[in-house]
């Protein structure tokens, strides 16, 4: 079961995790990204590519579900204006065993950072600027390619 939601509404972690749990899973892993206010950020705005975003997230969820035999994948990403402490993104995975859920979850958030069309603009008081992409995010996404079992062909993955 794949659930993709891109919305300006606050993310309800309890509802989302309960839905992921109810699939006969033995383990559910989640990652929640939260707006940090520790370097003076007063507001965060998230722009995205309507249509393109949902497509990218769906393909990402499908890839993770195949690679780790996941019972459920949920990706919820908030867009629009947010404040420090607000949730930006929730990724949750369910699997029979914990390693698949944990690895699938880590894969999804790493890949989302580099392959889903979202753009952040931070405001510090009256000063707003677009956030630069981080090289460390590209490296984190790339390590999953290196970890892919060599015996698997893309079609059989």
């Amino acid at each position: 079961m794949i659930r993709i939601l891109v919305s300006a509404a606050p993310i309800d972690v309890a509802v989302e995790l309960a839905a992921v749990e109810g699939r006969g899973a033995g383990g559910v892993a989640s990652f929640t990204g939260v707006v940090r206010g520790d370097d003076g950020v007063t507001q965060l705005e998230l722009e995205h590519y309507p249509g393109g975003t949902e497509r990218a997230l769906t393909e990402l969820a499908q890839a993770a579900a195949r690679r780790w035999t996941l019972l459920a994948v949920t990706i919820v990403h908030r867009v629009g204006a947010m404040l420090p402490g607000d949730r930006v993104v929730l990724v949750a995975t369910a699997a029979r065993h914990r390693t698949a859920a944990l690895e699938g979850c880590a894969f999804l958030i790493d890949q989302l950072k580099t392959s889903a069309p979202f753009w952040k603009r931070e405001s510090r008081g009256a000063d707003a600027r677009w956030v630069d992409a981080r090289q460390s995010d590209a490296a984190a996404a790339a390590r999953w390619v290196a970890l892919e079992p060599e015996c698997r062909t893309p079609g059989a993955e």
């Binding site: 990218a56 069309p117 677009w130």
Partner: protein, 85 residues
């Protein structure tokens, strides 16, 4: 044939609009060629596209390298590297 061209983030802001419907000549066959061609349209376009190394693209909603073909495409999106999550 008219191509739907989308702009996001600071590319959108520099150009002053989030989308344009343009009749692109058939000899403009790749994303990179499209970027060059668009640069001539306004100072905003020229500014947004001054450094193609800072640009990323999607053709019909799929991420592609800048040398990808746009032949037959309905929609091309041009934007900075993504920063979601």
């Amino acid at each position: 044939m008219a191509l739907q061209i989308l702009y996001f983030a600071w590319v959108r802001e520099a150009i002053g609009t989030g989308q344009e419907q343009l009749a692109v000549p058939p000899e403009v066959a790749t994303v990179a060629a499209l970027i060059s061609w668009l640069s001539c349209r306004s100072e905003g376009h020229a500014s947004a596209f001054a450094d193609p190394a800072k640009l990323r693209a999607a053709v019909d909603q799929r991420f592609v390298p800048l040398d990808a073909s746009i032949t037959g495409a309905r929609e091309v999106a041009l934007f900075p590297p993504v920063t979601g999550g």
